[in-house]
C-alpha cells in the first residue's frame, strides 16, 4: 500500500473500494482515510452487492475505544474483513486466540505470553542477529536487492525457530501465509480468491497437524507449539483442531506484518537519509526510530469486531450484531493525536501508535517484532551507508496488510565496513 502524504487529491470512492484488495495496491488509502476522519468518522460502508454492510472507524480515539471495549465489541465472530469480502464465515470462533473474548482469551494467551515477553525473547537476540545478517548479506555486494522478497523470510525464520518448525518448510509456509491475506493478488492467487484462501489454510493446517503429532502431550517440548500442546482450555487439553488454528494464528501474525515494517525501514533510510544519520550519531534515538517506523508502516491496516449491543457513535447508530472495522493505519495518522502526523520523525515522543493494536488482543509478538526491528536497524546503520531505489516498487493487493511485493534497492556498504562480517554471522 502506498504510504502517501498530503496534499491529497480530492477523494472519490465507492464503498466497495474499502473491501477491494486492488484499491490497496494501486489506490490511495491514506487520502481516503484522511477524508473519512474529517467528514465521516463513523462511516457505514455498504458494498451494495449483497455482501454484509460494515462500519468503518478511522479516528484514533474510536479505534482505541473499540479495541479495548471487548464487552461491547466482540472478537468471537472473526476479526478480519476477508470474512465479509469473501462471504466466508469464520470457522475459528472461540477456538483460536484472536477470535476469543476475555476471560476465555486469557486462558489461551497467558501461557504463550510468558514465552514472548520482552525479557523472554531477549534470549533470541543472537539468533535474530544472525537472521538479520543472512537477510542483508546478499545486498552488501552492491547488487540490486529486492527488499520485499527478502523480508518475507525474516519473520518466518525467527518465528519458525521459536515455534520449532522445520526450516525446509519455511519458504512454502511464508508463501502460504501471504496467500491468506493477498488472495486477490495475481502473484499469489491460485484461481478464485476463496479457493486461494482455502488452499493456503489447508496446507498450513496440514503442516501444523504434523508438527502437533510430533510432540506427544507427555513430552511436548518447550517451543511455542509445545506450549500450546501442554496448556489447558477449560481444564481440557486443546483439540487437534484448536492446536492447528492457534499455530496458524501465531505464524500469520508474524509473517504477514513484519516484512512490511522491514521494507518501510529500508525505504525511509533511502528517502530521508538525514534522519538516519541522526539516529546513527545518537544511539538513544534508536528505540524511537523503531517506533516511528512501526507507526509509519502500520502493516496491519484494520481489525474487525462485532457490536454486541446498540451503540451510538458520532450521531450514528451501530446496531447489535453489525460488524465494525477499525483502521490502525488511519489512527496512526490522526491529526487529533499526532503532531504533524504525515511527517516521519525519528525523534517523535511520545509516540502512542496503535500499530500492534491495543487492549486484550495487543499483538502477542510485539516484543519479538520490536527486538527484531531494533537489531535490523543496528545492522543497517552499521553496514549500510546509503540506500538507493533501483526499480519500481510494487504494492501487495490486500485489504488487510499495507504491504509490498517488490522493492528493488541498492544498499551501498559503508566505507570500511567489512562485508565478511555478515558472512561471519552465518
Amino acid at each position: 500500500m502506498l504510504l502517501s502524504t498530503p496534499p491529497f487529491a480530492p477523494v472519490s470512492f465507492r464503498d466497495a473500494d474499502l473491501l477491494d484488495s486492488a484499491y490497496y495496491a494501486s489506490g490511495d488509502p491514506h487520502a481516503l482515510w484522511a477524508h473519512l476522519r474529517e467528514n465521516s468518522p463513523a462511516h457505514r460502508c455498504d458494498p451494495g452487492d449483497g455482501r454484509e454492510p460494515f462500519w468503518v472507524l478511522t479516528r484514533y480515539d474510536d479505534v482505541h475505544r473499540v479495541l479495548r471495549d471487548h464487552p461491547t465489541f466482540s472478537s468471537r465472530r472473526g476479526t478480519m474483513l476477508c470474512i465479509i469480502d469473501l462471504s466466508m464465515p469464520d470457522i475459528a470462533s472461540d477456538d483460536m486466540m484472536p477470535d476469543t473474548d476475555p476471560p476465555r482469551h486469557r486462558q489461551l494467551r497467558e501461557p504463550l505470553n510468558r514465552a514472548l515477553t520482552p525479557r523472554a525473547v531477549a534470549g533470541q537476540e543472537g539468533s535474530i542477529r544472525a537472521q538479520v545478517r543472512r537477510l542483508l548479506q546478499p545486498a552488501l555486494d552492491g547488487s540490486v536487492f529486492d527488499v520485499a522478497q527478502a523480508a518475507l523470510m525474516f519473520p518466518m525464520a525467527f518465528t519458525g525457530t521459536l515455534m520449532g518448525l522445520p526450516s525446509e518448510h519455511w519458504p512454502r509456509m511464508a508463501e502460504l501465509t501471504t496467500m491468506t491475506v493477498a488472495y486477490d493478488d495475481p502473484d499469489y492467487s491460485t484461481g478464485s480468491p476463496t479457493a486461494t484462501v482455502r488452499q493456503a489454510h489447508h496446507e498450513l493446517f496440514d503442516f501444523f497437524r504434523t508438527e502437533v503429532t510430533r510432540r506427544p502431550r507427555t513430552d511436548p517440548g518447550t517451543d511455542l507449539i509445545g506450549i500450546l500442546r501442554s496448556m489447558d482450555l477449560d481444564e481440557d487439553p486443546l483439540s487437534e483442531r484448536q492446536l492447528m488454528l492457534n499455530c496458524y494464528a501465531l505464524l500469520l501474525g508474524a509473517n504477514v506484518t513484519t516484512p512490511h515494517a522491514v521494507c518501510t525501514m529500508v525505504s525511509m533510510m533511502g528517502e530521508q537519509p538525514e534522519q538516519f544519520a541522526k539516529v546513527r550519531d545518537n544511539p538513544e534515538l534508536r528505540e524511537r526510530c523503531v517506533q516511528e517506523v512501526l507507526r509509519w508502516a502500520s502493516p496491519a491496516s484494520h481489525f474487525m469486531r462485532y457490536a454486541v449491543r446498540d451503540v451510538e457513535l458520532h450521531g450514528r447508530l451501530i446496531r447489535a450484531g453489525e460488524p465494525v472495522s477499525v483502521w490502525l493505519g488511519s489512527a496512526n495518522r490522526d491529526e487529533r493525536v499526532f503532531t504533524d502526523p504525515f511527517r516521519f520523525d525519528v525523534t517523535r515522543h511520545p509516540n502512542r501508535h496503535v500499530a500492534f493494536g491495543v487492549g486484550p488482543h495487543y499483538c502477542i509478538g510485539a516484543g519479538l517484532a520490536t527486538l527484531a526491528l531494533r537489531i535490523l536497524l543496528d545492522e543497517l546503520l552499521d553496514l549500510v551507508e546509503a540506500v538507493e531505489p533501483a526499480g519500481e516498487v510494487a504494492h501487495l493487493a490486500s485489504n488487510f496488510v499495507a504491504g509490498y511485493k517488490r522493492m528493488p534497492m541498492r544498499l551501498l556498504p559503508r566505507p570500511g565496513c567489512r562485508t565478511d562480517r555478515a558472512e561471519a554471522g552465518r
Binding site: 470457522i91 484462501v197 482455502r198 488452499q199 489454510h201 489447508h202 496446507e203 496440514d206 492447528m244
Partner: protein, 95 residues
C-alpha cells in the same frame, strides 16, 4: 456395471464408479445426505479443516493421494472423481 450400485463387500465397492464413492465420502465427512454428482464440497458446508479429513479419507479408502492444489481446482463430486480416476490411471501406467 452389474445391477444398481450399493454399499457391500469391499470387492463390490471398488467396482462402483468413483463418483458414487466420492459422493459417499462427502456425506460421511460433512454429515449430510443425498450428495449428488454436481454438488460442491464447500457449498455443502465444507471448510479447509474438513477438506483435510476428506483427502485423508480418500487416501485411506481409495488408495489415492490427491494433491491439495488439484483438489481446490476440482471441488465438485464429479470433477474430483475425474481427478482420482486420472491418478489411478497414471499409477497403472507405471508413472
Amino acid at each position: 456395471m452389474h445391477g444398481p450400485a450399493q454399499a457391500g463387500t469391499p470387492a463390490q465397492q471398488s467396482a462402483r464408479p468413483t463418483g458414487e464413492r466420492i459422493a459417499e465420502l462427502y456425506e460421511r465427512v460433512l454429515r449430510v445426505g443425498d450428495v449428488r454428482q454436481d454438488d460442491d464440497f464447500f457449498v455443502l458446508g465444507g471448510t479447509s479443516l474438513s477438506a483435510i479429513e476428506l483427502l485423508d479419507t480418500i487416501t485411506d479408502e481409495l488408495g489415492v493421494r490427491v494433491p491439495v492444489g488439484d483438489f481446490y481446482r476440482a471441488t465438485g463430486v464429479a470433477e474430483l472423481a475425474d481427478v482420482v480416476d486420472a491418478r489411478v490411471a497414471e499409477r497403472a501406467g507405471g508413472v
